[in-house]
């Protein structure tokens, strides 16, 4: 159900179907324009429904719709990290990054708007949604690394790398998606290994991880 093929308003959808239709339309608009440039009329038009119907589902108006769309994007983004915990570690990380970069590619301007903030509808609540995704990403990585009690240095290393990946995706969007996604993915994996290596020299927990990682690879 895409905005380019609007569902006629007379088709009866269940409440859940209608809600998800509106969220899809909103996400697709937010993906290509900054939130402040999207109106409820645009969302109604894209979904092929009336403005009052959008308000019936999102009585809080654009702010509520934006937050719901953000939550739905965050949930989708978190699915990227959902990788079976089997097989060598680095290919797992590479697969998660593939899905993440596909998400960034697909949501484009909406992804930048979301992460860069500065939007008129950006609030501490929307900031908390984005932070939640970052935390989830860090937890996924640590779980894959088999670490249940990460020390401060390992945790900091993982969180710094996640921020660097975010920065890389924003720059990537700015620079017409160069280098190609698969090269960017490999480069990011290599950076992860490199910064883990640096931390390993300062932290025993990370050092044993790094030896496990290289045993894993060979």
């Amino acid at each position: 159900m895409t905005p380019s093929a609007p569902t006629p308003a007379y088709r009866r959808l269940s409440v859940e179907e209608r809600r998800s239709q509106l969220l899809d339309a909103a996400l697709s608009l937010f993906a290509h324009r900054a939130p402040e440039e999207v109106s409820l009329d645009d969302v109604a038009e894209a979904a092929g429904v009336s403005r009052p119907l959008v308000y019936r589902y999102f009585p809080g108006g654009k702010q509520q719709l934006y937050e719901a769309a953000l939550r739905s994007a965050a949930a989708e983004l978190e699915l990227c990290f959902d990788e079976p915990r089997t097989g060598p570690l680095l290919p797992r990380l590479a697969r998660a990054l593939d899905r993440y970069l596909a998400f960034v590619d697909q949501h484009d301007a909406g992804f930048s708007a979301l992460l860069q903030g500065g939007s008129v509808v950006e609030t501490s609540r929307t900031g908390a949604i984005v932070d939640g995704v970052r935390r989830a990403a860090a937890e996924h990585i640590l779980r894959h690394l088999g670490v249940t009690e990460p020390g401060p240095r390992l945790r900091m290393t993982v969180r710094m790398w996640i921020t660097a990946v975010e920065a890389a995706s924003l720059i990537w969007l700015d620079e017409e998606k160069q280098p190609p996604a698969d090269e960017l993915r490999d480069w990011l994996v290599e950076q992860f290994v490199a910064v883990l290596g640096v931390t390993a020299a300062r932290d025993e927990q990370t050092a044993s991880l790094v030896s496990a990682l290289s045993a894993d690879e060979s």
Copy 2:
């Protein structure tokens, strides 16, 4: 001229002195509390002047004062990167990081509020001020590296590292400033060298930089 030693209002200050006194007072308040928890009354009290006087200098009220304080903090932050371009490179980077971490240490909560956004007075203008500092930091680093025309991979590497340093400082503030600043500084320098090394394998410009760097060190 600190808030703890207020200047009596009757002392005649020049317009510039008064303005800078008010900015100092505001910065020192924003340094310890989130902007939304600072009122113009607080600023007036900290500066030992009347509220109307604060308004005379900042007729736009708190938003204007906050932006001016931010600009003044940004200018101070940019000074941290101002390092003579002589001697081996990594010690220069270490000295700049020392000053940067001292700034983070001193401004504490205000620094987090500034970078994390989510503040009620955060706007695209304040976001642009923060972005300006990031850009300045990247330019300083590239100038120190002696690069006038950085390719996309080198530029991306430097910008990713700067974001990682930002993330590290926020985590550092969250974790009661552990590890100690000098250890954090060395760790960040090592990470810079490591990610440059990774990029060197994919980018000739970075590769020649890395060889120059190691020649520099030995």
